[in-house]
Every structure is written in C-alpha cells, then in structure tokens.
C-alpha cells in the first residue's frame, strides 16, 4: 500500500471553539480531516486542488483553502468552518442575507462563499463592490452568476455600517 509505513500521529485541532483530538498522517489535508474524520461535511470538496473555493474555512480569522492546507499545520490555530457561524442556533446576519437575497441555489458553493466573506469583513469592514468581487473571485458558483451573492454581501455591509453609526 502506498500509505504503508506512513507515520500516524495524534494532534489537537481547535475547530469552532472545540478541541478535537484526531489521528492523522502527515499527508492529510485539513479538508480531509474535517469531512472524512470529523464529519464536519458543511465544508465541501469540489475540486481538491485549490481552484473552486468550496472548501474555504477560516484559520485565525483568515479565509484559507482547506484542501491546500495540511491538517498538521492547523495545530495551535483557531479554525472556523461553516458549522461554526451560527451561534446558539441563530444564523448570522450574513447567512440570513444569503437566504433573503436569493444568494443560495444549489448551495454547494455556499459554505466556502460565506467563509470567504467572513474573512473579507474581518480585514475590511467597508469593502467596495470591487473588493467584494475580488474577495470571492476564487469561489466558483455556477448557479447564480454571482449577482445575488454580491447583493447579499453589500446589504450586510450597509446594514453593519448603519448599525455602527447608529450606536
């Protein structure tokens, strides 16, 4: 077998504020561990080679392609997947906007798309339309033509800025 003799090791990954102790081999991608070992299947695998963005997660608040990151490199970092967005069963304003504005069709790109946008807002709370397009240009969506996704993101941005100014 190809993987014969590959060393297995026990590591700890902090995912969605919870510590998971997992046995990995050094070649395992974070995506593989999330889906196949931890059953966190919200993160999608659509190309496996970093071209489609469906597997995007947050690592220390930054959007990262989990298919291109080794699980072993996730040690000591704070990993957030789509399952970690809603808190206490309540959807975030971004998730709600995606639903409200028709940004979701088949839904297969949605988790990755959401994580890219959270990553964008973490670094830039006031992105221009162009910034938004740039932030999600690595996330392929075949259903929506991106129109309603961008509408939803802009609506969230506007609302957050307004809420901040109203405070």
């Amino acid at each position: 077998m190809i993987n014969k003799g590959v060393k297995k090791r026990l590591i700890t990954l902090n995912i969605n504020d919870r510590d998971y102790h997992v046995i990995i081999d050094d070649r395992d991608t974070l995506l593989y561990i999330l889906r196949d070992k931890l059953m966190l299947t919200g993160t999608k695998d659509a190309c496996g080679v970093g071209e489609c963005g469906a597997c995007t997660v947050l690592v220390d608040g930054k959007a990262v392609l989990s298919c291109l990151m080794l699980a072993i490199d996730g040690q000591g970092k704070k990993i957030t997947t789509v399952e970690g967005l809603a808190k206490d069963g309540k959807l975030t304003d971004l998730q709600k906007a995606f639903i409200q504005y028709g940004a979701i069709q088949c839904g297969y790109c949605t988790s990755g798309m959401l994580m890219s946008v959270v990553g964008l807002f973490n670094t830039n709370p006031n992105p221009t339309k162009n910034d938004i397009k740039k932030a999600i240009e690595g996330n392929i969506c075949r259903c929506t033509g991106y129109n309603k996704i961008i509408d939803a993101i802009e609506a969230v941005k506007d609302k957050r800025l307004k809420d901040k100014n109203d405070r």
Binding site: C47, G102, Q105, Y108, T110, I140, C143, G145
Partner: protein, 770 residues
C-alpha cells in the same frame, strides 16, 4: 403566496452546512470505489487480468464487464435507437476514459493501488474524432449499428432527424435574398460544483439503497432496475441535496451501476466520488454542433424558408445526441414563423466521450446560428434587428408544424419592451455607423446586440407524470409528499408556495418531503423543463383535493353550504360572518371521529400532453411536443478592448414570458445563472480536446465565469397568463430557455462594436482584426 419573492425554504440548512449532499453521506464500514478507464480512444480488449489487484490487502471486490450482464443502456432506448453502451466495457473501448473495471477497497489509496495493478491487453484500432472525418467512407466503424433509413453515404451516423414542410421551390422563386452560413459551437460543459457521486448500500433484506447526485430519482431507479436485473421494489433512491446539475446528471452513469454491484458483492456500503479532472476529461459534456444554415427572405425581411443541416458530434455512444438533433429542429421552428423548412440533423459517432443534455440542449447552438444570421440579413436588407424580429415573431394562436398550438406568446411584447428599456435602436445604429465608417479609433468600443429564443415546457418521457399527496398533522399543519428533487432551482420552495396559496396558509406551516422513491409518489424529475408545470400542477391538485375535503367537512360543523366558506391561517370561516369559524385542527378531529378514522388526505396528479400517447418522433419530429412555450428577447451590451481582444459583457437585459412567475426572486436567479453560463460560452469556455484527450481538465483552464466577470442583469416580466385562483395553472419554463437568446445577443453585440462577425464559439476577435 404566488407571485411573491419568498426566500427559499432550504436556505437555512444550506447556509449552515447542514444539508447533506451525496458526497456528504458517510456510512459505517463504507468502502471506496475507483474506476479503471481506457487509455486508448478505440481498441479491442483482449484480456483483463485482475489477479494481482485482487490480492492486495484491503481490496474487497473488483468488477469488470464480465460481471455485468450483457445489458446495454442508453439515454434513449427505442426500436430505432437501441441502447448502445455497456456500464463496463465488454470487449471494446471507444473513447479515452471509458470505464473498464471498478474496485472497492477500504480506502482511496488501496483502491488506486488496485487500479494500477489491473493489467489490460488491448489491440488498438484506428480512431476518428472529427465529425466530417467520421462520416467518410474510409472512416473506422465505431459501431456495427446502421440506421435502416439512412440515405446519405455517411458512416458512423448514430441518429438522424429529418423534417420538411412547405413549398421550397416557390420560396426560392419568391426570395429576394438567400444567405448561407456555417456556424460552429464549441464543446462546453456543465461545471456542476458537486462532483458526480453515488453511495450504494445493499442491505441484509436485499434492498439496494442508493444516494446519487442526480436530476430525478425515479428515472435513476428505472435505469438501475434494468441494468442490475433487479425489481423496482428492491431499489430505493434516497433523497440527498444536489449540488448543481444543469443537464449533466440525468443519464445513467457507470459509477451508479458499479457502486451498486460492488455493494451487492461485498454487502457493504460503497461510495464513489469522481475527481474533478475525471469529470472534465471523461464525463458527459454538452454537444458541440456544426450548423449549415441557409435562409430565404423577402425584401421586407419576412422569412420564406430555411434549409438547415445540423451535425452533432455525439461521441462514442448515442447519449442524448439523437434528442439534441430533434430539439435543434424545435428551436428552428419556434420563435419565428418558418413557412418552409428542409431540416436534417445528424448525430455522429466519434471516439470522444459521450454527450449529455446541457442547459438549453440544442437551443444555444441553434439560436446562436439563427440570430447571428438574421442580423447579417437585416443589415444586408437595410432594416434594423428589432424590425426583422418583430416581422417574424410567433404569436398567440400559431400552429407549429407538428400540430402544437401556441396558446399564448409574449414574444412581440418582449421585443418591443426590451427595445424601449435598452434604447436599442439608437445605440445599435450609432455603433454600427461608427464601425462602418472606421470613425471609432478608441481602444474600448461598446456594442449592443439582441437575441430571441423560445423553449418548451415539459414533454413526455419516462416517468411522464408527477403525483403528490397532502396530509395534515393534528394541528392542521401540512406535509406534502412529492418525488420532486430540488437541484438548486428551488423546486421545494415553489411547491410550498403553491400549497400555501391553495390552502391559504403560511409557508412555515408546510413541510415538503421529497425525492425518495420509497416514500414519495412518482415524479417526472428536474429536467426537460417540466417540473414546475407538471409537478406544480400535481401539487396544486392535491392541495385542491385537501381543500375541498376540509371545506365540505367544515360546512357540516358550521351548518352552512361549503361555497359560503373560506379559509386563512388554518381557520375555516363563513365569508359573510368570519366570527363563525372552525380551526383546521378541529375539522380534522371531527372528521376522523365522524368518518371512520379518515384523516383527510389530498391526492393530485398531472401529466402534460393529455391527448398524446407519447412524445414527439425523434426520427421525423412529428407528434405533440409540449403544452406550452416560453418566449424571451435578450439584449447584451458589451465592451471590447481592441488592443487585447478582451470582451466584457457590461449588461444583459432579459424580457421573458415565462407564464406566471410564481416566485420572481427564483426566476431572477434562474436568469442570472443562465446569463452567466451564456457569457462563459460566448467568451471563454471550451473543453479543448486533441485525439480524444482533454487538454484543459480543470476549472482554472476551462475558464468559467468568476465573480469579477459578473454580468449586471435587468429583467422585464411579460406576463401573458395571469394566475387565477381555481383556473388551470399554466406556468411556463424558466430553467433553460434564457441561456440562448443572450448568447446570440453577445455575438451580435460584438459585431456591433467591432464589425467582426463570430461564426464560431467562443468568440475570438483578435484573429479577425487586421
């Protein structure tokens, strides 16, 4: 509820990652399946040696063509077009990537190791890839099959559809202008984001449980039953969410057969997920077409007749190629009045991968050709693109050559309204003048173009019909059982809206239980543009049935005639005296008590083309095709960089007559997706193949549109059919008709900007500029 922008009901589970797609199904002790594929485009298989592979620890089963019964399958299986493909190659392979063996092993690495250890001995045969080479008398025979009625001296014809009517000789005599052009469309592909995937589990009771990324569970079950020699009752296709399909997941695929058979052999769940490069290289794409189009027109632009030859490169097996050449005929005779036609479509076998339907299925190819040529003709005649389209547009009451009636048509309104909204004539003539007089020396040039299209609304093909069941919980909330499969278009939301409308209840009080062959009634599936029409009507009828039962029961308890009752929010009340009321819950309770336990169950069913025994003939296009036809006019505005040749679609406008838009938010979503797919086809997308090998098997190299290439969309609703409560519910198709007009519009806009006429897709202007 009808006509409102209701957010989709599956939004929350998709926004949180809870929705389980086939790829997300993990069962205990599940095996991984991997496929051995042919490295040669055409060869005899002399021997397959699996002895070494079988001995690898962790390999649980290996199947080859010998394990499959001698049964072939096809997208179409008729006496004229018998099934022509094995699930696993028997003694011959006909394209690179054809499935030869499938391995089930404990993990992916082991499965791949076994695949590498299988030794196949081939005798290579001459192969042919180009359609015009394939029809030559000295071309290699890809199949033994010969069409009995083929009159042309062509080889490798997998299908032929011919239809002609009118007096062509007279048309020639009357013609003021005859224009002949050849148009070619590229090999494009679906790019569904969820890979092709299947999980099969043959349980101890002898039931085969299947989760598969598809477009219709009942069609998949029919195929699997045939190919596995198993009764329908022993196969259950479970519901899983579908991550996009666009036509590419309706056929039976080898991996669906293989996972099933491997599970039967091992007694364990078996999962197959295609790698993305496998999908790009070996799975079914759309249909590349060469169209020879001769059009005869009068001086005023009236079309007198057309002579059309379509050559479809259908790949190594028939696939949906023979359907595509029938549909090409349909998209010729649809949006415009064609008084005289001589049409022949050929579907030609080559040693390429097999083809499937893809959004539009023939319409993008044909509309690109016809709409481009119509603009050429208009310019030669000195009339504008709007006028020539208005002159030829189909109208209400038109009878199509096959006998179908156009019951309503908003095409003229679509064209007129879109002209107004985009200021088309003014922009078009200004650009054209500048191009013609070489006055425009700017680097970035603007152009505007129009395209028109029409699409059918479902037809008869297995399973032909849909049925639905409405049942109530004790509190009066509703559960609807439907076989419909939501593939992203919002099927479940639309069906819930229809129920909410009929029963005057909140959409939150409705649960849709869908897409499971054991637990839901038959459904036509999310394809042939028929779900909202066929399933929608079945669900409507089931709701009406439930409503009637509720009212007649309530009438007894309220002691009034049922006609004087109405309902809202799970309460039935007397119209004139709303105080007099009874809740659904109480009606149900009383009804069960007084009717020997009858809990009130609504039943509904629907089949289109009620007077037709079967769908249209694929041989001669005769016979009923569809109950209604959607129409659209679309305008594209482009900007062309004359230094680099880069084309950008600045804006797309779609005027559509899709019947009554049940949910405008979802209709817009469908249009957005189609405009984007059309922009991709027009400007960048192409599967590039050389001698059967795919040279660009990845998202990156295939170049489908990304967010920075988003096209701004504008929509115009042309509603010819008001939705009236209690009336027959005639919505029309919206899922694939809007990928074609805009494709042609982009090509016409590029001409308007640059004077370069694209006859091949994707559009490349740089080679044409000197």
């Amino acid at each position: 509820m009808i006509g409102r922008r209701i957010p989709r009901i599956d939004g929350p589970i998709k926004a949180t990652g809870e929705a389980k797609y086939t790829t997300d199904i993990y069962l205990p002790d599940m095996l991984v399946a991997k496929m051995l594929r042919s490295p040669l485009p055409h060869a005899k298989i002399l021997n397959i040696d699996i002895s070494k592979a079988k001995k690898i620890p962790g390999v649980k089963a290996i199947i080859t063509g010998r394990d499959a019964w001698d049964i072939r399958h096809g997208f179409i299986e008729t006496p004229r077009y018998p099934a022509d493909q094995y699930c696993l190659a028997n003694d011959r392979v006909r394209y690179i990537g054809e499935e030869i063996a499938c391995v089930a092993a404990v993990d992916e690495d082991t499965a791949y190791e076994a695949i590498d250890a299988i030794k196949v001995t081939y005798e290579e045969l001459p192969a042919v890839f180009d359609i015009f080479e394939a029809i030559k008398p000295d071309a290699p025979d890809i199949h033994e099959f010969r069409l009995p009625d083929l009159i042309e001296p062509f080889k490798n014809v997998g299908g032929r559809c011919a239809n002609s009517f009118g007096d062509m000789e007279a048309a020639f005599k009357k013609a003021y202008l005859i224009r002949e052009d050849r148009f070619e469309t590229q090999l494009r592909t679906h790019c569904y984001l969820e890979p092709q995937a299947t999980v099969a589990y043959y349980d101890v009771n002898g039931k085969l449980n299947v989760w598969t990324s598809s477009m219709g569970v009942f069609r998949k079950r029919m195929h699997l039953s045939k190919i596995l020699h198993m009764p329908l009752s022993k196969i259950r296709i479970h519901k899983s969410w579908v991550g996009g399909a666009f036509g590419g997941k309706i056929d039976l695929f080898s991996h669906e057969f293989c996972t099933s058979l491997l599970s039967i052999k091992t007694g364990k769940p078996v999962k197959y997920v295609a790698e993305r490069d496998e999908i790009f290289s070996y799975f079914r794409h759309g249909q590349p077409m060469v169209i020879d189009l001769k059009t005869l027109v009068a001086k005023d632009g009236t079309i007198l007749g057309q002579i059309v030859r379509c050559y479809n490169n259908c790949g190594a097996y028939r696939g949906s190629g023979v359907v595509c050449i029938f549909l090409c005929w349909g998209f010729i005779i649809l949006p415009y009045r064609i008084p005289t036609l001589d049409y022949i479509g050929y579907s030609i076998y080559t040693n390429n991968p097999v083809r499937a339907p893809q959004k539009g299925h023939g319409a993008p190819q044909v509309r690109f050709a016809v709409e481009s040529q119509l603009d050429i003709i208009a310019e030669e005649l000195g009339i504008d693109p709007i006028e020539i389209r208005l002159k030829n547009a189909r109208q209400k009451g038109d009878i199509l050559p096959n006998g179908d009636t156009i019951k309503n048509a908003g095409l003229i309104e679509c064209i007129e309204e879109i002209e107004k909204k985009t200021d088309f004539r003014k922009k078009y003539s200004k650009n054209l003048k500048e191009v013609k007089q070489y006055k425009n020396n700017t680097r970035f040039r603007r152009g505007i173009g129009i395209g028109v299209s029409s699409y059918f609304t479902g037809t008869l093909i297995y399973p032909h019909n849909s049925a639905a069941i409405i049942k109530f919980n004790d509190d009066g909330t509703v559960q609807c059982y439907t076989g419909a499969l939501d593939i992203g278009q919002g099927a479940e939301t639309i069906l819930a809206q229809i129920i909410a409308e009929e029963l005057s209840i909140d959409i939150k009080d409705i649960e849709i239980i869908a897409g499971d062959t054991d637990n839901t009634p038959v459904d036509i599936g999310s394809w042939i543009s028929g779900l909202t029409y066929v399933t929608g009507n079945a669900v409507k009828k089931a709701s009406e049935d439930a409503r009637k039962q509720l009212l007649s029961s309530a009438a007894i308890y309220l002691n009034v005639h049922m006609d004087s009752l109405d309902m809202r929010d799970r309460i039935i009340f007397v119209k004139d005296n709303p105080e007099r009321s009874i809740t659904f819950s109480k009606v149900l309770e009383n009804h069960i008590r007084d009717h020997k336990g009858d809990p009130i169950i609504g039943k509904g069913f629907f089949r289109g083309l009620k007077d037709a025994e079967h769908g249209p003939s694929l041989k001669n296009a005769k016979g009923a095709w569809s109950d209604s036809y959607a129409f659209d006019a679309q305008v594209a505005e482009v900007e062309v960089d004359m230094h680099t040749g880069k084309i950008k679609v600045i804006k797309a406008t779609t005027a559509h007559d899709c019947g009554f838009p049940i949910n405008p938010l979802l209709v817009e979503g469908q249009i957005d997706g189609q405009v984007s797919m059309a922009a991709g086809q027009a400007l960048s997308e192409e599967i590039i193949m050389e001698k059967g090998i795919t040279l660009n098997p990845s998202f990156l190299e295939y170049k489908l549109p990304i967010a920075t290439e988003m096209v701004e969309n504008d929509y115009i609703d042309i509603i010819t059919e008001e939705y009236k409560k209690g009336h027959h519910f005639h919505t029309k198709e919206v899922g694939e008709g809007y990928v074609s007009g805009i494709l042609a519009a982009i090509a016409n806009a590029v001409y308007n900007a640059t004077g370069v006429r694209a006859k091949r897709l994707p559009i490349r202007i740089i080679n044409n500029l000197s």
